[in-house]
């Protein structure tokens, strides 16, 4: 059973120990990425206390979630060519949330493509240190044919435009890194406009200012 199914269990403790000892495997990294940072911080503290009791003169540690995440991403990127590293596994659950209703999801389940484990992709361009980690959630237009009663006029029939063939899961899995800058720019533009539309001051900008910088270029 994957550690993802319970990211806050003791398995995360083992992964954290492995990471702090520089012995983390890709599976450890993925477990940590799926964990709660606050709980990890507590675990780092307890780990440090144990370390201090054994070696009182050891260096003081301060948990910095940003730096910690950067470290995780570095290791993830280092291993991404060698293994099918998973990241943000909860995004696999996206299939459920994109289904209009649970009932409909069951009805259309047989026609939906299998969703491959998602691989982390950065929206880099790193303008504001904001290499926002997006995950490709699914490839393919799995819902357009779902019969949920909402009128969705046929695009091709109503215009002289024609959509590209639908992506397969594998093609979605290989989003090109050179597109990241464009996507990041779009995300910034979107956040700015949202900040003027939803009446929450600059808070919508938090997502493009605050995330740790990724390394994918």
């Amino acid at each position: 059973m994957s550690k993802y199914s319970d990211p806050y269990n003791s398995g995360a403790q083992d992964s954290l120990s492995a990471f702090l000892d520089n012995e983390a495997t890709p599976a450890d990294i993925e477990a940590l990425l799926a964990s709660d940072m606050q709980k990890l911080a507590q675990k780092v503290d307890s780990y440090h206390q144990i370390h201090q009791s054994v070696q009182p003169d050891s260096e003081q540690w301060i948990f910095d979630s940003g730096a910690f995440l950067n470290g995780l991403h570095d290791k993830l990127d280092a291993g991404i060519e060698d293994s099918n590293v998973l990241a943000f596994p909860k995004r696999n659950a996206m299939l459920n949330s994109v289904s209009p209703e649970p009932v409909m999801a069951e009805q259309t389940a047989s026609s939906e493509p299998q969703v491959k484990p998602v691989r982390k992709h950065y929206w880099s361009g790193l303008a504001v240190a904001a290499s926002v980690a997006f995950a490709v959630v699914l490839g393919g237009n799995v819902l357009l044919d779902s019969n949920d009663g909402v009128a969705t006029p046929n695009f091709v029939a109503n215009s002289n435009a024609q959509a590209e063939p639908l992506a397969t899961a594998s093609s979605a899995d290989t989003i090109r890194l050179e597109d990241n800058e464009r996507l990041q720019n779009y995300l910034r533009q979107h956040a700015q406009q949202a900040s003027m539309t939803v009446g929450q001051g600059m808070i919508p900008m938090a997502k493009v200012v605050g995330y740790p910088q990724g390394n994918a270029q």
């Binding site: 940003g66 980690a133 979107h190 605050g210």
Partner: protein, 315 residues
């Protein structure tokens, strides 16, 4: 005598109704508070397994409207606004790569569109006695009326209407995104120095450039209830790319259309509450790349991608 009593009762009821703000009234007050109040607060932003603390400040100093958002955890990047000027502060030049260029300042916040919100959400006050960041808060729930938008929960300061906490929830009430103040002070003693970057920092200054409005060449054959175009025309981001904006008063979807040479399959990405989709389409002998970004479920982006089309001449 009975008439007098009835009149008195009616008067009391009307006063009571006036004195008890609705959920919409609280949301409206929240929107106004971001512009009207001076504040200095720290909040945590949590999304997709990541968490970041940020400081936000706002104040009117010497007739100039200042606002700043500062990253406290990562690379100490800040965005500072002084009226129509934007300053982006980076710890050093190494952290500045392709340039963060805000298109517009943040001061022109739209007023709450109550009618549109009511079409899209059931708005309820669910608790009057919550406590967030040592402040008394009212809890307001926005329950979506369909599957094309996320749910929202707001905790709003009872004294001044300030937003103290905001959760975005998916269709199964799972948390997608959260912002929560851990501390906030109102009417802080802010000075110009508080919005002045240090000498060591690398600074990029930007002055507002009026966005170029261009003819909108695309239309949607269907929109989720409550959603509408924010601008009737499109905004030109660069000679190749135009932007449109859709909103239901709470959620927004940005639509980017650019001419391209490359064909792309439909692809979706997400992080927390934000979903992005892209796909190329052919119109006559030209290929366009559609990119949509919004805090909506993936199905909404998917539907919108299916119904966008070149604008007809008779529109």
């Amino acid at each position: 005598m009975r008439k007098v009593l009835i009149c008195a009762l009616m008067t009391l009821l009307s006063i009571s109704a006036w004195a008890t703000p609705s959920g919409l009234d609280w949301l409206s007050r929240m929107t106004e508070s971001f512009e009207e109040l001076s504040y200095d607060g720290v909040f945590v932003h949590q999304e997709a397994g990541m968490m970041n603390s940020m400081r936000i400040r706002h104040g009117l100093i010497g007739g100039v409207d200042y606002e700043s958002l500062e990253d406290l955890d990562g690379q100490r990047i800040a965005v500072i606004r002084a009226d129509d000027s934007i300053i982006c502060v980076f710890p050093d030049k190494e952290d500045y790569a392709n340039g963060y260029v805000p298109g517009e300042p943040f001061k022109r916040f739209a007023k709450l569109d109550k009618e549109r919100l009511q079409r899209a959400y059931d708005i309820r006050i669910t608790d009057h006695s919550q406590r967030i960041a040592s402040r008394q808060a009212v809890k307001i729930k926005l329950v979506p009326k369909d599957e094309f938008r996320h749910g929202h929960v707001f905790w709003i300061d009872k004294d001044n209407g300030f937003l103290l906490k905001h959760d975005v929830l998916d269709h199964d009430n799972q948390l997608l995104e959260r912002i929560q103040f851990t501390s906030v002070t109102f009417a802080p003693d802010l000075k110009e120095d508080d919005f002045t970057p240090s000498k060591e920092a690398y600074i990029q200054r930007f002055v507002e450039v009026e966005p170029q409005t261009v003819k909108r060449n695309w239309q949607f054959d269907w929109l989720p209830t409550g959603f509408d175009l924010v601008w009737q025309e499109a905004r030109q981001m660069n000679p190749q790319t135009n932007m449109m904006l859709l909103s239901d008063g709470m959620s927004t979807v940005s639509v980017f259309v650019e001419q391209t040479q490359q064909k792309r399959p439909q692809t979706f990405m997400n992080m927390g509450a934000t979903v992005a989709g892209e796909q190329s389409i052919n119109v006559d002998d030209k290929t366009y790349l559609l990119t949509m970004v919004g805090e909506v479920p993936a199905i909404t982006i998917q539907r919108l991608m299916a119904v966008i089309m070149p604008k007809q001449n008779d529109d």
